[in-house]
């Protein structure tokens, strides 16, 4: 392992960390504060370029004594996370220009995303834990960074829930380490593959802890309670970042851990953890959808919807237990389309809420008249979240459900049946919102200007939602290549 190769592998994360430092320094220089956003984008661009070089060189494999592994899977998430963060920064630059601690905001954002990139590469429990905590801690601070009453409340609640979840996760890790005798994921996988029957119980127990703890990041039951509160209270850019990037990182960890790290398919406990995620998926979908039905605050609706969507993705995770590459690629494809969709929705909500000074759904009445583009993009994203054609959300749902059903397991068929019924429930609140925007009469005729950055992101998001709805093959193929990297060679 040459130093050069190691640099190639961890380059994207390093670029982001260095970027965070540079942003902080630039912030110290009075008069250069406006440049912090631009600097962050530069750091993200460098990270992306580095990842492209890494992909082009075909370099793959574990590095740094097995602490990390670089493969198509980690690259997929690197691109996803970097693109998401860039979109958040561009789409909410106007908000950030009014924030007092702008430098710290961007620096924390970069640290958080850098750690997520490491998270997707983690090949060792300790690396995974440290990267997870770094990104979490940065997010806790981000949630509270506006330092008004709502923001600090969101930050505190997020932090306390997150710390409890981390403790639960660690407890699971402790048992995994204890049984396998190593913190390296391949070693654990090796152990699980040959685990004696007598250890089934502690194994199940430890992965219940791990699933619950990681579930916090993915916003699935049981650590889902923070989601609506934080989405509502935290600054909207942070909400959009969390809803997409944090969820993606959580699922990256789950796939790496359960699919690759817990021995892949065909072990003592594979079906157990598949069923565990099936239960979590059902609970998340029901909780999210029923919760969203009664909300009038749009950010809370998005929060509950995010829980329900996480349940949908968890269907794919459950399918992983029973199938080969279908399940993981479904999860990846779903996350890819979900990123475009949810970012579009969040940036639109951000743009509107900033102008309206309100998150009340009633104030969205007649948005089509006041800000046609925002309304159309937001509607498109909501239709995609519902899972209706011709959007990417439709393909994603069909694809992920198809992956579950292809396994030929009756319990996965039942799971999909529950999931599709939930889709019908979700249509109720998503489309009610669409109707309010497009068809209701506005209470106030003044037009709402959307900032240029937000417009650009909205345009990109809607192009993504429509393009992958009509021609999903490129993304599906990328997801399949990424998922294939997870299989033990």
């Amino acid at each position: 392992m040459t130093a050069l190769a190691a640099a190639l592998y961890i380059g994207p994360a390093v670029a982001l960390y260095i970027g965070a430092g540079v942003v902080l320094l630039a912030d110290l220089v009075q008069g250069r504060r406006a440049a912090t956003g631009l600097l962050s984008l530069v750091a993200l661009a460098v990270a992306a370029l580095w990842a492209i070089v890494q992909m082009g060189s075909g370099a793959e494999g574990p590095i740094l004594h097995g602490a990390l592994v670089a493969d198509r899977f980690s690259l997929f998430f690197t691109f996803l996370l970097v693109a998401t963060t860039a979109a958040v920064i561009v789409g909410t630059s106007e908000w950030a220009s009014r924030v007092e601690d702008r430098g710290e905001f961007y620096a924390l954002l970069l640290v958080s995303v850098g750690s997520m990139v490491l998270l997707a590469q983690s090949n060792d429990l300790i690396t995974l834990f440290v990267a997870l905590e770094t990104t979490s801690l940065a997010q806790f601070i981000l949630a509270g960074i506006a330092r008004n009453e709502r923001s600090s409340e969101a930050g505190l609640k997020y932090l306390l829930t997150g710390s409890i979840a981390a403790a639960v996760l660690l407890y699971g890790f402790a048992f995994l380490f204890g049984m396998a005798g190593t913190t390296a994921l391949p070693g654990i996988a090796e152990f699980v593959r040959h685990a004696p029957e007598g250890l089934r119980l502690p194994l199940i127990m430890s992965f219940v802890f791990v699933a619950a703890g990681i579930g916090f990041k993915m916003a699935i039951v049981p650590f889902h309670g923070w989601v609506p509160d934080v989405y509502q209270g935290a600054p909207t850019p942070v909400g959009s970042f969390l809803s997409v990037a944090s969820k993606a990182a959580g699922f990256a960890v789950v796939l790496r851990l359960f699919y690759s790290g817990l021995g892949g398919a065909e072990t003592l406990i594979t079906e157990d953890w598949g069923k565990l995620f099936a239960v979590l998926a059902v609970a998340s979908m029901l909780f999210g959808n029923i919760g969203a039905l009664v909300q009038t605050n749009v950010k809370r609706i998005l929060g509950y919807s995010s829980i329900a969507q996480a349940g949908n993705i968890a269907v794919g995770v459950a399918a992983v237990a029973a199938a080969s590459t279908v399940g993981p690629s479904g999860v990846l494809f779903f996350l890819g389309t979900y990123a475009a969709t949810n970012l579009g929705a969040f940036i639109a909500v951000n743009a509107v809420s900033e102008r309206l000074g309100s998150d009340d759904i009633a104030d969205y009445a007649g948005l089509f008249k006041r800000s046609p583009m925002t309304a159309v993009v937001l509607s498109l994203c909501l239709v995609s979240l519902t899972g209706l054609p011709p959007t990417a959300g439709f393909i994603a749902k069909v694809y992920i459900f198809n992956g579950a059903i292809q396994t030929g397991q009756w319990w996965l068929v039942a799971l999909v049946a529950v999931a599709v019924v939930n889709t019908a429930i979700s249509a109720f609140y998503y489309l009610r919102w669409v109707r309010t925007m497009i068809l209701d009469e506005p209470t106030d005729d003044r037009t709402i200007e959307t900032p240029g950055g937000a417009q650009a992101v909205l345009l990109l998001a809607s192009v993504g939602v429509l393009f992958f709805g009509v021609w999903p093959t490129p993304l599906i193929e990328a997801a399949q290549r990424a998922a294939a990297a997870l299989l033990p060679a």
Binding site: R98, I141, S151, G198, L199, P235, T236
Partner: protein, 178 residues
């Protein structure tokens, strides 16, 4: 664990630690709870000694019983008007159920699992080794990456704590709609 002294130490320390934890739960006053928390931390450090984890035990005393406890004292002192009582919230029953459930399940699993199956023969104690230098080697060798990331984490925790509590320089910014 042959030595009777160590066996005795285990039971005593375990009793102190668990007792301290329970007192944190039931203490009426927050400051009293903090004292019991420190007691539990110290008992835990003792347990670490019985496990031949000397370095960790010392670190435990320094970081938990020292720094974190002091931080908490500061926090309690900095919030003078907040209630000092260690009251339970509306979630006491669910909390109790969850805690007891987890305890029971883990203890049950710990007792019934034939841990010997991990290797194939009965459990035997390993030779006590000096851990400090070995840990240092691991930290700068195999675990150098998490080590570096942890330093970034500490640095940004510092930045974050400062950002959160430093006094405002200008008028209130409107973070997000409210």
């Amino acid at each position: 664990m042959e030595s009777p002294g160590v066996i005795l130490a285990f039971y005593v320390l375990a009793a102190v630690t668990v007792g301290g934890c329970l007192m944190v739960l039931v203490a009426r006053n927050l400051l009293h709870a903090l004292v019991f928390l420190v007691l539990a931390f110290l008992g835990m450090a003792g347990l670490f000694f019985t496990l031949s984890a000397d370095f960790i035990a010392v670190a435990q005393i320094l970081i938990y019983a020292g720094s974190i406890a002091v931080l908490m004292v500061f926090a309690i002192m900095l919030t003078p008007l907040a209630a000092r009582d260690n009251a339970n919230s509306l979630f006491l029953l669910p909390g109790l159920a969850a805690g007891l459930g987890i305890s029971g399940i883990v203890a049950f699993v710990a007792v019934v699992t034939p841990w010997g199956e991990l290797k194939g023969d009965a459990l035997a104690a390993a030779d006590p080794v000096t851990t400090v230098s070995a840990i240092g080697d691991l930290l700068l060798g195999r675990y150098v990456l998490p080590f570096e990331v942890a330093s970034i984490l500490l640095f940004f925790a510092l930045i974050g704590a400062i950002v959160l509590v430093h006094d405002r320089r200008g008028p209130r910014d409107s973070g997000g709609a409210s």
